[in-house]
């Protein structure tokens, strides 16, 4: 049982390049989330999904896209990388334990630098 797996762990991009951060969970969780964390700051919600085929915007969705074609996978795509997207990205998942009782399991993070 690997939990939440994120790849890659590290990546350097040039301005304008595109890439996809992969996130896979093997816990059959319904809910999945993408957060970004800038140095010394808290986590900001980018996108979330309550099930396959359903995604919704979080606090800071601009510059990102997501898809949820399966329960297990929730990739995050950056189309035109900008220096402001330099951050650590965390994927998380949770099971529906009833409204308001979600417990998040986080991946190890993906550190992205845009130069």
């Amino acid at each position: 049982n690997a939990g939440v797996t994120q790849t890659p762990k590290f990546r350097i991009l040039k301005i304008g390049q595109s890439m996809t951060l992969q996130c896979t969970q093997d816990m059959n969780h319904n809910y999945m989330y993408w957060y970004r964390q800038d140095p010394g700051m808290g986590l900001k919600l980018i996108y979330y999904s309550v099930g396959a085929g359903i995604t919704d915007k979080g606090e800071v969705p601009n510059g990102y896209n997501v898809s949820r074609s399966t329960t297990e996978d929730f990739p995050l795509r950056l189309e035109l990388a900008a220096p402001s997207q330099t951050s650590v990205y965390f994927c998380a998942s949770s099971q529906n334990q009833g409204a308001g009782a979600n417990v998040l399991t986080f991946g190890a993070g993906s550190r992205l630098t845009v130069l």
């Binding site: 957060y35 808290g42 919704d56 650590v88 308001g100 009782a101 417990v103 998040l104 986080f106």
Partner: protein, 109 residues
């Protein structure tokens, strides 16, 4: 979406008890209160969750007053390894789970 407010930082010494209070004035009836711990370069991890009164597990206690507008995470007898950022998260009924700024706890020898 219930907004949370926590102190930015707290200092303590090994062996002391650390209490971190989180304010969440507009908590909804169905919301739970969950606390997470984050070490540098790691994702947050679950510590404890509660709905009302007091909850205790092997690492912490969570105190929630009757009006549920605040909660206090209590870490008994902290050690250097408890130095971390602690986040209070109030569960949204729409599952849009947003974190606050967190509290940096520094434990000194």
């Amino acid at each position: 979406l219930a907004k949370t407010t926590q102190p930015i930082s707290m200092d303590s010494y090994e062996g002391q008890e650390v209490n971190i209070t989180c304010s969440h004035n507009n908590i909804a009836t169905n919301d739970y209160i969950t606390w997470y711990q984050q070490f540098p370069s790691q994702g947050p991890r679950f510590i404890i969750q509660g709905y009302k009164t007091k909850v205790t597990n092997e690492v912490a206690s969570l105190f929630i007053p009757a009006d549920r507008k605040s909660s206090t995470l209590s870490l008994p007898r902290v050690s250097l390894s408890d130095t971390a950022v602690y986040y209070c998260l109030v569960g949204g009924s729409d599952y849009k789970l947003s974190f606050g700024a967190g509290t940096t706890v520094t434990v000194r020898a």
